[in-house]
Amino acid sequence: MTPALLRRWRPPALALPSWPWRITWTYLGLILFLPLGAMLLRAAEVGPAGFWEMATTPEAIATYKVSFGLALVASVINGVFGLVVAWALVRCRFPGQRLLDALIDLPFALPTAVAGLALTAVYSTNGWLGQPLHEAFGIKVAFAAPGVTVAMVFISLPFVVRTVEPVLRSLEKEQEEASWCLGATPLQTTLRVVLPQLLPAILGGVAQGYSRAVGEYGSVVMISSNVPFRDLITPTLIIQKLEEYDFDAATVIGAVMLIFSLLSLLVINLLQVWGQRYQGDAA
């Protein structure tokens, strides 16, 4: 009786997730969520008062100023020149265009340590560009704040170019022609017709570049003199805290950077939604 019953009874079809899902979630869990959770837990252990105190020591504040401030300078520079480069790639014909196009991807491909070494070599006071700059204007680039900015410009350059390019290419010629027919000068057409449509893409690229520049370590640590209160960036401070076995401070400052990353991811997503709506309206 019992075996027969057992034979008749089948477990309800339990929908196990498919293999790809299982792999995805296991992998994400082990590789991403576990370390993320460990860090958040550690940060929570410090407590709100301690957290605030360690996150806002003068030393930490100084590095935020360097990291977030210089990254902003670098992103604005890239916002302007990235637009020019994208424009040159899409709207102009000139010799060496393919090379220019290929070079844009180099910061993505080049290991950051090599980038740091290269920039330090070129912008140090006896380098190809550093020497004339130092002799002519007395500007010290490498091992000072301008060098950090240059490194941030280097690593975030592709973002603006590569976000603006496809949008610029997909713009409808008719609008510009209509604007021209209505008597607008090329400058007016560019400012009033083309730029507003590019704005979401430009801001999106700037935001991505900014987020990347704030977190950058490899290239900046080589070109910076790493002097506190002068050109020490936040990631380097985290490493210094770890080397001093001050795990709490390292965790707190790391958590500040993590929160910034999450916020910037949110902003980038919102900018993208805005850009899509803009394109939807235009179409």
């Binding site: 995805t24 993505f108 290991p111 740091g116 390019e165 496809p166 770890l242």
Partner: protein
């Protein structure tokens, strides 16, 4: 796509008709814009890249090759290759699994899941390293006790380096393959299934071939980034010369210790990898273009 990674559908300059004739009287922007673009990219990217090549070969090929007799350099190179050889296959499996799981389904939180996969792109590599330390460090890590009782060593050892490399590079593959899978429909897979193919057969014979170039490109990006990762590895490796020093760490260490030639020699190796990966990218783009052309003429 949330985060810009170099994608396959890359800019192929298309002629801008009607622009030139209109601007004939006023050619200043047509000259000025490319000029400014070239000078900017030249100063920021090209000159530094050339300076590495110039410094590496400053004394000719002989001294450059002599660098490779340095034990530290060779062991750093070996560790870098080892970490890459472990990290890349793991990430390929994850990337393909995630892509097939996510791309063709619509579910709540899909955008959120994609953002989560993108996280390593926006988190500072140093913070990634810090997370691993806070998890696995024998003294301060959350799992430190467990790890130590098992007799394992993760931080300041190769498993930590491999883990750091994996975290920093895992989004590339999924990121490249998902858009392509979303673009293509289900029809071919369904046809294969009605003909009696198993899931595995469908994946292997239908899905994978249809995304092969995107997957190959994802593989190139993953490998290039894995070979060059610095920040995350710097935190977990302990940077012990000849033991836990990867090639990018060696570049920095050698430069800081005034072994300039060694630094540039190692940098040249890594730079060479970057250039090869860029060339492969161009090649893969060409192949993709051919595939598309073939697909267009077929029906």
């Amino acid at each position: 796509m949330t985060i810009v990674v170099p994608t396959l559908e890359s800019p192929r300059p298309t002629p801008a008709p009607g622009k030139r004739s209109r601007r004939q009287g006023l050619d200043l922007p047509a000259i000025l814009i490319p000029l400014v673009a070239c000078v900017y990219v030249g100063v920021v990217i090209l000159l530094p890249a050339l300076s590495v090549v110039a410094s590496a070969f400053a004394k000719g090929l002989g001294p450059f090759l002599e660098n490779f007799q340095s034990h530290e350099l060779i062991s750093a190179l070996r560790l870098t290759l080892f970490a890459t050889a472990v990290a890349v296959p793991c990430n390929v499996i994850f990337g393909l699994a995630a892509a097939t799981a996510i791309a063709r389904r619509q579910f709540r939180g899909k955008a959120l899941l994609l953002s989560v996969i993108d996280l390593p792109f926006s988190i500072s590599p140093v913070v990634v390293g810090l997370m691993l330390v806070l998890l696995y460090s024998p003294t301060h890590g959350l799992l430190g006790g467990v790890i130590e009782s098992l007799g394992w060593k993760i931080i300041f050892s190769w498993p930590g380096i491999v883990l750091a490399t994996i975290i920093v590079t895992f989004p590339f593959m999924a990121r490249e393959v998902i858009p392509l899978l979303e673009e293509e429909g289900w029809e071919q897979e369904e046809a294969a299934r009605t003909l009696g193919a198993t899931n595995w057969q469908v994946f292997w014979k239908v899905t994978l071939p249809s995304v092969r170039w995107a997957a190959l490109y994802g593989l190139i990006l993953t490998t290039a980034r894995a070979l060059g990762e610095f920040g995350a590895v710097a935190v977990v490796s302990g940077n012990i010369e000849g033991l836990t020093q990867t090639l990018p760490l060696f570049v920095e260490d050698a430069y800081k210790n005034y072994q300039t030639e060694l630094a540039f020699g190692a940098a040249m190796v890594l730079g060479g990898v970057a250039i090869v990966s860029l060339l492969l990218k161009l090649l893969v783009e060409q192949l993709l273009e051919q595939d598309k052309k073939a697909a267009r003429t077929e029906p």
